[in-house]
Symmetry: C2
Subunit: 183 residues, 2 copies
């Protein structure tokens, strides 16, 4: 998949943070001209569509500084160094919700913003949830509120723009599709 490849002439590293890195690449275009590409490197992330034994969706509300507001999302978090995506999914689910699960299945993976970032999100579905009495503590700088909602309630949260991110919208639509297919 190298069609229209843009060959790197020079990479300037601008920023190396805790979560993201920024670089600007000078590239040679297919027609021989040159252009600049602003690129964010990200370690990748997981998101977990977790269903309780009553069929409810587990959601977390948290403040997103980039948006200057709180939104409601499915549990998610970034990959730690050397950690595989399923292990990350199990860890984030436990840290953010206190649940461990019997079945964890990869539904799909996708790039969130291919125009400027290499963030890849692995979307898992978790079933057979069991609440742990003593679960992993959340990250020390993370404050989340747990909710468990029906699919109909989740659809309402989308309409009210309280759910407003791509991975969660995809996950809810996935459940709508499964429901429509089994009717």
């Amino acid at each position: 998949m190298k069609k229209f490849e843009e060959k790197t002439i020079h990479t300037e590293k601008i920023f190396e943070g805790k979560v993201i890195q920024l670089q600007v690449d000078d590239v040679k275009l297919p027609d021989g001209n040159e252009a600049k590409r602003e690129i964010i490197k990200h370690p990748g992330a997981v998101a977990v569509l977790a269903l309780t034994n009553e069929g409810k969706i587990v959601l977390v509300e948290q403040y997103r500084k980039a948006l200057e507001r709180s939104i409601i999302e499915i549990p998610a978090g970034k990959l730690e160094k050397g950690e595989g995506p399923e292990a990350t999914a199990r860890r984030e689910l436990e840290e953010e919700t206190g649940y461990v699960c019997q079945n964890m299945k990869l539904l799909q993976s996708f790039y969130t913003s291919p125009g400027f970032a290499d963030e890849l999100v692995y979307l898992y579905m978790a079933e057979g949830l069991v609440k742990k009495e003593e679960s992993l503590p959340p990250d020390e700088d993370e404050f989340v509120e747990l909710m468990e909602v029906t699919l109909e309630e989740a659809e309402k949260l989308v309409q009210e723009q309280k759910i407003w991110d791509a991975k969660t919208a995809f996950a809810i639509q996935y459940l709508q599709l499964q429901k429509a297919l089994t009717k």
Copy 2:
């Protein structure tokens, strides 16, 4: 929606590019402790699920430098200053595919990476497509190849990871859901 608000103590602007800006905010957490947030500011973008009069999906293949590969996506592009999302959607559709459309409808909007970026994507559906003989030229640094595929072919491209981004995956799943609901 200010639950668990993180108040800004200080903002350090790191980079101002053509597409994105990077800043690092020092914030006060709900428990009084402090943390750093790495934040990408983005002008927002549109994506267009365009259906031909034969019911095929219009796709474009392009090289994504951030991924170092080409992927297949629905037509998309970022908002220009002062440009509303529907105008952007019509412009990008014409620039990338040569199509203008009679009906343009907002399906949903979502943040792509709320953990570190404020990019909001407006997803439109375009129907009543008409090929223009002399359409807007593509951006000078953009090389795209046009494809028109059935829903079944699109599903296969997802399985083969040639379609591999969130907005396109959402759009295809949207069509799958509509098909299942009208059966």
